[in-house]
Amino acid sequence: MKLRRFLAVVVARNREFYRDRTSLGWNLLFPLLTVLIFAFIFGGGPADQYKVGVLTAGGDLTAAQHPFLGTQHVRFLPVEDEAAGVTKVRRHQLDMLLDLRGAPRYWVSRESPNGYLTERLLAASVGSADAMPAREAVEGRQIRYVDWVLPGVIATNMMFSCLWGVGYVIVRYRKNGVLRRLQATPLTPFEFLSAQVVSRLIVVVVVTLLVYVLSDLVMGLTMYGSHALLALVFLCGATCLISIGLLVSVRTRSEELADGLLNLLSWPMMIFSGAWFSLEGAHPLAQAVAQVFPMTHLVDAARRVMLDGAGLADVAPALGLMVGSTVVLLAIAARLFRWS
């Protein structure tokens, strides 16, 4: 591999990207506008109905189990996993978690006004202080929808940028003869493909950084984890998505076919990855399908770092999966690549 040739192609491709104002505008404005729109729509404070998660050994959630469950205007939701329920209380996604499996106890967030009021309702329903379940206080900032959705917005933008910015562009190069012209030079397929990967990574890193910083300035993001780890997650995810784009482009000669194939990949990834809405409670088959897509692991790992403060060990399986997929996809792409 000759560094001079590789760098020449990286520079030319990047120049092509930043001088194409429509492409540049779309890549920057789309994620920013999406975040701002979500901030506007969901920025109006919490819903006025109280939500209490209930852990039970079985049976319906009625006053027969506990008098509090008979309280009107409180929505009681069955919760199966204690840890997940506590996390939701910490994020203010539940106002309270009530455990009725043994001696009654409950979790409530110190910082949540709704948690305080729900606790008063619980006290009123049991009548006396002696009958009050044991209190488990948790701490945590409210997780707004915008905090939850931001990793999904960044990942979605990244996905479009990686798939179309590499896959579609290479097919266009093949169709209009740019690849044939390059084939006639000493440039090797490996140098060309590596240059495309690196060039798009530079674009993705810069755009993601801009979106992240601007979103933080405008809305104040929730970030409990390490920025370096988040960057690593996004970098692994982007490389994996680029390798999918490369695989689509290795033999395709028609831009229409490439567009169709990229849409065929991107839409299921966007829907099943949980980028925009949680797949919790979805059909098990849908959840199984979601695990196939690297985007699912990218969104999940980014969310865990940002919202749960997850460390390297926590997201290592997701990172491993993305890196492994990248290696396999790139190897196949390099083997199948044709200039013409």
């Binding site: 000759k2 092509e16 190069y173 390059l182």
Partner: protein
Amino acid sequence: MTALLEANDLVKDFPGVRAVDGISFAVPAGSCFGLLGPNGAGKTTTLEMLEGITTPSAGGVRYRGGPLDRGYREAIGIQFQATALQEFQTTRESLALFAQLYAHSADLDELVERCQLGSFLDRDTRKLSGGQRQRLLLAIALVNDPELVFLDEPTTGLDPQSRRNVWQLIDAIRRAGKTIVLTTHYMEEASQLCDEVAIIDAGRVIAQAAPRALIDAHFPGTLIRVPQAALPAGLPLPAGAERRGELIEICTADAEQTMHELLAVGVPLTELRVAAPTLEDVFLKLTGHGLRG
């Protein structure tokens, strides 16, 4: 002269069709070799095999007596018939990009001057005129100071002035000692530029020689053309005459004598056309159809 490039019994099959069917020739170092033929004759496929871009189904190409290797790419320059450059680059940037892809590059300032790129050096390549674009593509083909240059229809689509401009550039390249292999539709171009031409039809070389030698071999004299309607009915065709559509074409060593004979049988003088035979006449005679097939 030593052969720089040799095509040995080249065959190229595509599904259901044999595009090239056993083509052999040798290109001497420092010469300009032309491949002529109608569309679909197999000349571009032949050129691509010579360039090392398409692998032959059978036969082979030898450069300097040996098989093509990775170093071949460094030694050749190619101007494609239809090609695009990366978008949003200026002429200067496109030239610099290609220069960086080679281990050795020509002096870019000299190249700019030689190909007359100075007036549009900082212009986006998408905004170049046809002639400017061809000159840039020619400069890119020369950016590595190649020993062997392939030009695939270098003047197609250009106006007469731009075409002559490109001819001058190609002539200068040849005079600089480069070996050129070109394809063209224009017989005047081949006659002016090529030391030797091979006429290809249906995937085979049907004639090969210097343009003048080909013309002399097939038309040893002058051509006189007469509309068939101008000949008196029932008159047998003169010796050396052939029908070409509505025209009777007579190749004669003594044009004056033939004209006297035609005038004597009542052919009006105004209907007689006397012309020196051209490469196009050779092609028409050999293949029976026009160059644009």
